[in-house]
């Protein structure tokens, strides 16, 4: 139980004050008319917290100070417990783990909790679901809100029945009175009341060692709907009289419309054509008609020459301008780099490159838009419902309250759905057609018109002494980003910087952001430095590493993998790598086998140890780690976007290879539980070590030191040939 003083701070009182909601203020009466009578608990950011923390400041961006409710929950007379949060479900099973947290504190089964997520009309403002923030931020807010609700209910029962609160017991969502065997449901206690509690951020949470539901593998809450086809993704939704939308896509990025003849499309029965500047789209009663209408449009486009994949790394390096160090991008400088390099027995200078890759969510972007009396409602799969609400309000020059964005549980995102392109396109069509319009992007559209994980160039120069001390670390990332750029190992002299560049392709977030690229270069370099110093790669790392959480995962992974126990079989190799990102600590060991004739590289097995504080749902954590490793395999081995003159050359799943069953090695996962530490997110960090671990295993097997991601899109044959010529 939580300390007594925080309980008394939340004693329920009737308030006549207005309630702040999603950017607007509604009255108490209206609030309960909407939710039904009962008890509502709102979690409020404290002003001081908001001002003190830059992270929180961005989440209340542009909002007035009364609008800092992070989440709320409501207990109705019929015992329904409803949680309202702006976080969204994209497959990370956050719907389940947040429900677990609330169920825990209210001592009810998980099934008793209804989660209302990502509906801008119903939930408090939220910046979005990214950066592995849902578990640490929203999880703890909801836990506190649930505790406050529980304590308020106990207080009410205590007053009503004139029993000391300490003599009341809670079990299975009921309050047990000490006299006789009388049990009161929460609904009975809140009946006829309209109570609002506002709780500040300083409420205490239940200690991890007292968790009963958190920390257990509660299955996906609505799992049955996903295996019987009943769940409606946006692309499955239909409204009465709905039309199907289709957009005329330019032949290349940045193309502008010179001339267009819409006659052919307009002549087709039932077709609405919308033309605004370079935007041309149609809405039709069915998809074949919409496709036919697009095909009937004659358009002339003006295109311009643009860099191709072949020259991208030179281009990004040339176009780089400025330096970002410090803050979120880590890095900065310390010591004296020149002296550090001079003090080294050996130095190692390398340039690493990473290609653009695509997220390839299995559900391509989709939106269903409807205008009613000037109000726009859009169902769309986005990680930022409020961001899309804002974009739509600006695009149509209407107040935000006139835009409702609803995000049903969506067919994955991986950082690739921060935007609302399909929402805007569907809304434009629906406005002119005056009917609801659904727009589902094709796979080729998703490959082309979404955004990519940035390509980048990373230059590293490092010095090492023969005793294994790293004397200098000079690390520069061009274009891909600053995440994961910090040097986790102890180096006295270092200079680390991220240099933004001018990306010819639309680029954005991806699982783990730039930490995948930066930690690839960092851990490849560490591997080769260990070789220079004639040290075992694990021993070399531990010698230079103080961070205890990272040390722990290295040791756990190595132990489970059997690191150092035996030599790899012929043409096999072992590699190790690790890193930390977004509060998660990860280390991966990999075994690869190389076919010297065909050059094929097969990943035989991987062992990953991962730690993200106190574990909330072990089974779903296992699934997130697994997913990160499998997704990481694709970017590590073969995924790359090919492009030329503003065109994507491989926009199909036949041409762009993603990991399949046959690519999946034996994956061993070691969860390191730290009940003494706050829970961090787990969707991103476990991806960072897989690529360098495989790369280092290839070095071990063959001596070939690859410096590109993907490592072996064409296999290793050419590299082996080159190496054998050099050795002759």
């Amino acid at each position: 139980m939580k300390p007594q003083e925080s309980v008394t701070a939340f004693v329920t009182h009737e308030t006549e004050e207005p309630i702040a909601t999603t950017g607007s203020i509604i009255s108490r009466r209206k609030f309960f008319k909407w939710l039904g009578s009962g008890l509502a608990v709102a979690f409020v950011w404290q002003d001081t917290t908001v001002l003190a923390s830059p992270e929180n400041a961005t989440s209340v961006n542009k909002k007035n100070p009364t609008d800092q409710i992070g989440a709320w929950l409501h207990i109705a007379e019929d015992n329904t417990i409803t949680v309202f949060t702006g976080k969204v479900e994209v497959g990370q099973n956050i719907r389940t783990s947040l429900a677990q947290v609330v169920a825990e504190e209210l001592m009810v089964p998980v099934a008793a909790i209804q989660m209302v997520m990502g509906d801008t009309d119903q939930v408090p403002y939220d910046a979005g679901t990214f950066g592995s923030r849902s578990t640490p931020a929203m999880g703890s807010q909801l836990r506190k809100a649930a505790i406050a609700a529980r304590e308020a209910i106990l207080e009410m029962a205590s007053q009503e029945h004139k029993i000391n609160k300490n003599n009341l017991k809670l079990a299975d969502g009921k309050i047990l009175l000490p006299t006789g065997n009388k049990k009161l449901s929460y609904g009975e206690i809140v009946k006829g009341k309209q109570l609002v509690q506002i709780i500040p951020d300083n409420a205490a949470a239940t200690p991890v060692n007292q968790w009963k539901i958190s920390g257990t593998s509660v299955p996906k809450v609505n799992g049955r709907d996903f295996i019987n086809g009943r769940h409606k993704y946006v692309s499955d939704m239909k409204l009465l009289g709905m039309l199907y939308g289709k957009i005329l896509r330019p032949p290349a990025f940045g193309a502008s419309l010179k001339a267009v003849d819409l006659t052919g499309a307009k002549n087709i029965k039932g077709v609405t054509v919308v033309h605004e500047g370079d935007f041309v789209g149609v809405a039709a009663p069915d998809l074949p008609t919409a496709n036919q209408a697009i095909a009937a449009i004659k358009a002339q486009w003006k295109t311009s020459a643009q860099p191709a994949r072949a020259e991208i790394f030179t281009y990004l390096k040339e176009k780089a301008s400025g330096v970002q160090t410090g803050g979120r991008n880590g890095g900065g400088a310390k010591g004296d780099l020149k002296q550090g390099l001079a003090a080294a027995d050996k130095t190692l200078q390398n340039t690493y490159t990473v290609d653009y890759i695509a997220h390839v969510p299995m559900e391509p972007r989709a939106a269903l838009a409807q205008w009613e009396n000037g109000k726009l409602t859009v169902w769309t799969g986005t990680q930022r419902p409020f961001g899309v609400q804002n974009d739509l309000a600006e695009a149509f020059k209407i107040p935000e309250e006139q835009v409702r964005v609803i995000m049903p549980d969506t067919g994955s995102a991986y950082g690739g759905k921060h935007t609302g392109e399909a929402a805007l396109e569907a809304a434009k069509l629906a406005k002119v057609a005056q009917k609801p319009v659904k727009l589902t992007w094709t796979r080729a559209e998703e490959f082309t018109w979404a955004y990519f994980r940035p390509a980048g160039v990373i230059e590293v120069n490092a010095g090492v002494k023969n005793d294994g001390t790293i004397t200098a670390w000079d690390f520069h990332n061009y274009n891909s980003g600053g995440a994961g750029i910090r040097m986790p190992y102890e180096v006295a002299n270092q200079q680390i910087a991220y240099h933004p560049s001018d990306s010819p392709l639309n680029q954005g977030s991806y699982r783990g952001l730039a930490s995948v690229a930066n930690i690839f270069a960092l851990e490849a370099q560490m591997n080769d430095l260990a070789q220079l110093a004639n040290l075992d790669p694990l021993a070399f790392r531990l010698q230079n590493l103080q961070e205890p959480r990272l040390r722990a995962v290295f040791q756990k992974a190595a132990e489970a993998f059997g690191w150092g126990k035996n030599k790899p079989p012929k043409d096999h190799g072992y590699g190790i790598a690790g890193g930390t990102e977004k509060g998660g600590y990860t280390a991966t060991c990999a075994e690869v086998a190389v076919d010297r004739n065909s050059g094929e590289v097969k990943v035989i097995r991987t062992t990953t140890a991962f730690e993200c504080g106190a574990i909330i749902n072990p089974e779903h954590l296992d699934n997130q780690i697994l997913g990160a490793i499998v997704q990481g395999l694709g970017g590590a081995l073969f995924e790359a976007i090919d492009f030329q003159d503003g065109k994507i050359l491989n926009p199909t799943l036949a041409q762009y290879r993603v990991p399949r069953f046959k690519d999946t090695p034996i994956i061993q996962i070691i969860q390191v539980n730290r009940p003494d530490l706050p829970s961090a997110g787990a969707g991103e960090a476990p991806i960072v070590a897989i690529a360098p671990a495989i790369r280092n295993a290839i070095v071990d097997a063959t001596g070939v030191k690859l410096k590109t991601l993907p490592l072996v899109p064409q296999g290793l044959a050419a590299h082996l040939k080159k190496a054998s010529i050099q050795n002759k």
Binding site: G223, E363, D409, T410, R443, N623
Partner: protein
């Protein structure tokens, strides 16, 4: 033309070359079958044709005369899940679940032709289905679980 879907005769007004996927989803409102790529590469649109797995996105309806089509909606009978669905639920396989229908249908097809597949037979058969969330090992576990109950 007439189609036999989940044991019922359904009439489609779509032109003969229309894909089974769009007829199922847009005309019959059987949206459990998903669009993933339109090129038969991802398996999200997998349905059964006389018990065998086909990619409905690459199957024009004019090839389906007299054939029995089963979609994900046809597996559950009167609220009772198919043993393959039970196995997937028990293993708690999925993350986003978008590939789920295709995975389940491919599994039913596999176990129809080979009730006790080895692990490598499972991987061979399922290789045409993509799960971008990367749940492959959990799917293999679920298939073994379903096979053990058969």
């Amino acid at each position: 033309m007439e189609l036999l879907v989940n044991g019922s005769k359904r009439s489609s007004k779509a032109s003969p070359e229309t894909s089974l996927l769009s007829v199922l989803r847009d005309e019959f409102d059987l949206t459990g079958t998903k669009y993933g790529c339109g090129e038969g590469q991802c398996g999200a649109c997998t349905v059964l044709l006389d018990g065998k797995a086909v990619r409905s996105c690459r199957t024009p309806i004019n090839t389906l005369q007299g054939k029995s089509i089963t979609t994900i909606e046809g597996l559950e009978v009167k609220g009772k899940l198919h043993p393959v669905q039970e196995a997937y639920l028990k293993v708690d396989v999925f993350q986003c679940g978008y590939c789920a229908s295709g995975m389940v249908m491919s599994t039913v097809a596999l176990l129809n032709q080979n009730p006790k597949p080895t692990e490598s037979q499972i991987i061979d058969f399922m290789n045409g289905n993509i799960c971008r969330c990367g749940t492959y090992p959990r799917i293999v576990t679920a298939i073994k679980e379903a096979a053990s109950k058969a």
